[in-house]
Symmetry: C2
Subunit: 286 residues, 2 copies
């Protein structure tokens, strides 16, 4: 489905576009991304295309969700390639805001502070990360007047926090999670994968392999947090250049972290640095 995608760079222009669409009785689907689109993103855009009358994709590397020592400057960007992919998936608007249009008052801004859920897992090693995510997503939801917003389950904690934010704040947008998409060899798709060297790319397969080992143990009846975690840990640590930030097993809705026994419905989540590239992955245990 090839369409002419309109590029919008100004927040007010997006707001006006969305208002007109809403007044015309159209439903709006939003796919917030940081750009450098891969097949995971495209699966979100296709889902939005199926569900909504108007599809808005945002491409914004949001500075406020990066820590001072993180990879904001080196995060990959390719606007032209993104535009072509958006067109091929039937995107009506590609919103590429400047930092100034989304943060008109700079750092002296209004912030959306998430619940305690934001301090665990990725939040423990990335303080302020989910505040940045929740704030920018609030802006995008309000500007786009989205009826539906689509997020990948690769960023599982993000998805869960945004669902919680929408519930807490009475946000009428339906937050829709879509399955994680993997490369043929099992690596979870991520814009950051392009920054892996050939060696690191091969070592990074251990994340999925570790999750699969834990999953196999779980299916064989193990309900021990320690055993399942060790199974994943051993495989990842066998690769040099990997540094585990966390491997945790949590409740899929509340993100409550299990420390002893695993119930019949859970999710294993992990974050690992491979060389200088921080990767995340997860797998349902059920």
């Amino acid at each position: 489905m090839n369409v002419q995608t309109r590029i919008i760079r100004d927040a007010k222009e997006l707001s006006t576009f969305a208002h007109e669409a809403q007044k015309a009785g159209k439903t709006i689907g939003l796919v917030p991304t940081m750009g450098y689109l891969h097949d995971g993103h495209l699966s979100l855009i296709r889902a939005a295309r199926q569900k909504a009358d108007v599809v808005i994709v945002s491409d914004f590397v949001n500075p406020t969700q990066f820590g001072p020592t993180e990879d904001y400057a080196t995060y990959p960007r390719d606007e032209q390639a993104d535009l072509e992919k958006c067109q091929s998936c039937g995107t009506d608007v590609l919103f590429i805001p400047t930092v100034e249009t989304l943060y008109p008052n700079g750092q002296d801004s209004t912030w959306v502070e998430v619940s305690k859920m934001g301090n665990i897992l990725c939040g423990a090693t990335r303080p302020g990360h989910f505040r940045g995510v929740a704030t920018v997503v609030t802006k995008l939801l309000w500007l786009s007047r989205a009826d539906y917003a689509f997020f990948g389950e690769k960023d599982y904690q993000q998805l869960t926090i945004l669902r919680r934010m929408a519930q807490d704040l009475g946000c009428p947008t339906e937050i829709i999670g879509m399955p994680l998409v993997r490369e043929a060899d099992g690596l979870a798709m991520s814009s950051r994968n392009v920054r892996l060297s050939e060696d690191e790319r091969s070592q990074a397969l251990s994340l999925n392999q570790g999750l699969r080992a834990a999953h196999a143990l779980f299916q064989n009846g193990s309900r021990s947090v320690k055993d399942l975690t060790h199974a994943a840990q051993n495989i990842i640590q066998a690769q040099k250049n990997t540094a585990i930030q966390y491997i945790s097993i949590a409740d899929p809705d509340s993100l409550e972290i299990f420390t002893d026994a695993v119930p019949d419905r859970a999710i294993m989540l992990l974050a690992v640095k491979v060389g200088s590239v921080r990767l995340i992955d997860n797998m349902r245990l059920d």
Copy 2:
């Protein structure tokens, strides 16, 4: 304009009502209040009635904007009288939520943290107050899908912070400020006035009198923060049982507080405890 006002107590029910109205092409005006309605509130409802197709008034004494030693428990409430006043002004929906429906996850909630503007003036003596205000207003805006939201200029800092919040977060609701309404003797209307004793009620007139004295000096050419402030201060302090929390002169848009010279466009704001009742008032200097 007497209408049958529908009472809604559940957040989801309000959200559904607003969605239906929006889909029917109607514009929505919201008047957020803490109830115990007076003529100031009614002027907001009448403005909403003029501007929007559907008028929603909310009656909610929001616990998260009160400090632990403040008057949450004793804040006056009268649901039946509010309903009758709403009906007389053409209110379509009176939303009277429970704490549980607006804070489904209690204190472990998502919060809207306002900019530095929230730490000065009333924010200096009421830490967390504007966070509570911004959070509950965000919920009300999202639930009601308001095109317009109306706030009185009596709570001038609140109005300014909410305008700023809407700008920062891309909120499409137009925030509309309406003039402060006074009693015949000059006292700014407030739900808290009912808690003043007869003596205190009379002493409380000094707030308006102090502002008018400063305003007269300003009109006579004085541009000295010190002189204008003293003019108000002397009148208020002449009453026993008054305790000034602040008297400040600020920029009407940014709330930047002037410390030396007053420009030709400014606002004087003050907060004073009269007995145990905290009152605020303000007056433009221009």
